[in-house]
Symmetry: C2
DNA sequence: TCAAATTATTTTAAGCCTAAAGTATTTCGT
DNA sequence: ACGAAATACTTTAGGCTTAAAATAATTTGA
């Protein structure tokens, strides 16, 4: 029993084990949230102060940076894990500010192609460089030789949650 | 050099190492964000569907649950790591809905004491129970014997980021 | 004592986010 | 061919979030 590798079904656990696991799960969640909130808050602050920019806008540009020929607008909500309606005003503003273009497709007039402008790309690269440096600064005190381990754990966690969401 | 336990100062690294570390740091951040977003989205959805409630409201109640005699309003922004202005309308609504009371202090008329009502506490406990079960469900596929390790890593990460933010 | 600084909280302006409903446009089934 | 279903996107309503300015009450210091 002690050697089992598979997660034990909840129903097979006694009260004390169950309680302990609940606590551990809650702790994982609270720490995850705390780390993310901490880093996200600082990154947001710096984006605002240094570039008068927001993270959601940066995230859109980051997706577009890897697509020289642009992206179907509908791809963005999927990749960024946000709702489609959310993106409309963000894309609107990026267009208005000259970072990206939005052109209707000729083959399907429902579809729009978004593509970074030359100017937008230039500005994005500048911000991305700072973004990397900020992250390096924030994570500098974490032992470098344990990044890979943590990445692996988080990958597994993500898969585990995804699987749990798949089921029902 | 290969045995060093201390994080190597950035300035002492050559280009390739530096690049690799940047990538690892970015990966950690993206995975952290992905896990949090995934879990948070699902919890939010369930709070809304099952209880017509939001997570920020739940978070306020969770703080108050541990304080039978209530809490100075100003403690909430600190504990929840949000701005004070943010809390005003959330607390307003919780008061309006009968979950909490907000009473001005007699000693200092700037200060307000917030306290969960009996009814509020009853409802909170019910939601907290579901919250725990949801979390258990979402994390069920992650090996239980590795929760503690992950918690430790995240604690260290949090401390590392906090330290990095302290300095300047 | 009393003006200035500090502290607690609210208000405001602007942006992010979701769910749900709405508008085109295209595709599918018959 | 043509109405129904599906798809791509926008709009709307409501809540969260922040930073910065405003309000009110207390404390501090000359």
């Amino acid at each position: 029993m002690a050697l089992a590798k598979e997660p034990t079904p909840v129903s097979a656990k006694n009260g004390a084990d169950q309680e302990a696991e609940y606590r551990a799960q809650t702790r994982v969640w609270l720490r995850l949230l705390a780390c993310t909130t901490l880093i996200e808050g600082e990154l947001r602050r710096r984006f605002r102060e240094e570039f008068d920019f927001t993270m959601p806008r940066f995230d859109v540009l980051a997706q577009l940076d890897r697509e020289p020929s642009g992206l179907v607008l509908g791809e963005l909500p999927k990749r960024l894990m946000v709702s489609a309606g959310n993106l409309t005003p963000i894309v609107d503003r990026l267009v208005a500010d000259g970072y990206i273009t939005r052109t209707p497709s000729n083959l399907d007039r429902r579809v729009q192609i978004v593509c970074m402008t030359v100017e937008g790309r230039k500005n994005f690269r500048r911000m991305a460089k700072s973004h990397g440096a900020w992250l390096a600064e924030l994570l500098a005190n974490f032992p470098a030789d344990r990044f890979d381990g943590l990445i692996g754990e988080l990958d597994e966690l993500k898969s585990a949650v995804r699987d749990a969401l798949q089921k029902p």
